[in-house]
């Protein structure tokens, strides 16, 4: 059946027109912790420690960070051997030199190969390469992911739909407050002729956490399926 009633169908599926689940509204009764947030913010302004403008600027700065930043790093590492070497040697400096605000963090890039797949976790809390990927997804902060990833990474990966033969070594990296990792996913086969800017779109957030793989473009899949 043609998709002549696309939108109503998606509303029934609780999906937005862009295909994302609708989020519950925020207009819930005022909570104790919201009162605390408002109070802390106003007290800091009254004491001259910060300003509303500075807080808004910080929110904008964080909002501007998204996995696209990390994807630009990965795509460049795929295309630029000199940058790749610098990144693997010292990811903090290499990404800072690209113009990203890395702060005082020690950042380590770990690379997936034919034999090794890397995953990152923070077993103690929620440390995440937020300077390159933005804020972590909820599951990254969950008890299930924090506990099990270092114990049974293959079963965690399977829940994300990612499986490897037993010959592939799975390496799990436990982040700390001062030391964060980013996974450099394998460049998909068949993308040899793609430009760096086009490759950025193949690098998903999960592929840089290690719970996913870089996307193989559908045109390449079609070419492979068509004799």
């Amino acid at each position: 059946m043609p998709h002549d009633h696309h939108e109503p169908e998606d509303i029934h599926n609780n999906l937005s027109p862009s295909g994302h689940p609708y989020r519950t509204d925020d207009d819930t009764p005022l909570s104790y912790w919201q009162v605390m947030e408002i109070s802390v913010r106003e007290l800091l302004a009254e004491k001259g420690i910060t300003t509303a403008r500075e807080i808004t600027a910080q929110i904008d700065k964080m909002d501007a960070r998204s996995p696209i930043n990390g994807a630009q790093v990965v795509a460049r590492a795929w295309c630029d051997p000199q940058f790749y070497a610098a990144l693997m040697n010292d990811a903090s400096t290499a990404t800072r030199d690209m113009g990203f605000d890395i702060g005082a963090l020690k950042l380590i890039a770990v690379e997936n190969t034919d034999d090794v797949h890397n995953m990152i976790v923070c077993t103690l809390c929620s440390c995440y390469p937020r300077n390159l990927l933005g804020l972590p997804p909820d599951w990254y902060k969950s008890r299930a992911y924090r506990s099990r990833t270092v114990r049974e990474p293959r079963s965690v990966l399977a829940e994300f739909g990612v499986t490897f033969p037993s010959s592939t070594q799975i390496r799990v990296h436990d982040s700390t407050a001062d030391m964060r990792y980013i996974v450099i996913p394998k460049r998909p086969i068949g993308t040899e002729n793609m430009l760096q800017n086009d490759l950025v779109g193949l690098v998903t957030r999960d592929s840089m956490i290690g719970t996913g793989l870089a996307i193989t473009p559908s045109t390449i899949i079609e070419e492979r399926q068509t004799p």
Binding site: D26, L30, E37, I38, L43, T123, C125, R148, T149
Partner: protein, 130 residues
């Protein structure tokens, strides 16, 4: 052999000797829920983003370090991890550290919180500039 149970390599939930609740790496746990997997790209609420900003700004201005925040979060205990949301725990930790760092007093906070709470029943009402 009884002491096999207490081997340092035994990461069963019963072996928590010397580990606090937050040190959960290697424990058993259920699957990652569909809700967590599906809601993966949601945006945070304004108040949550403000908590994140207050954490960065308070730290940048030298009132606390990430270690100070972690201490409060870990002292909150396992119960808080299950019952409070992520940014609820963070505002509690930020506030505690700001008081300890001398940004304001508990009396300042108590007075401000009762003023704020009296402004209305929703976040929008309470957060509106006065």
């Amino acid at each position: 052999m009884n002491n096999a149970k207490n081997s340092p390599n035994d990461h069963s939930p019963t072996f928590k000797l010397g580990r606090r609740w937050h040190d959960m790496g290697g424990d058993t746990a259920g699957p990652i829920t569909m809700e967590q997997l599906a809601d993966t790209n949601h945006d945070f609420s304004l108040w949550e983003k403000r908590v994140d900003a207050l954490m960065i700004i308070g730290s940048a201005k030298g009132f606390f370090t990430v270690d100070g925040l972690r201490r409060v979060l870990e002292d909150l205990g396992e119960d808080a991890f299950e019952t409070m949301t992520y940014y609820e725990r963070w505002i509690m930790a930020v506030n505690q550290n700001l008081i300890e760092g001398g940004a304001y007093t508990t009396a300042d906070l108590a007075a401000k919180m009762s003023q704020v709470a009296a402004r209305g029943d929703t976040y929008g009402d309470a957060a509106a500039p006065v």
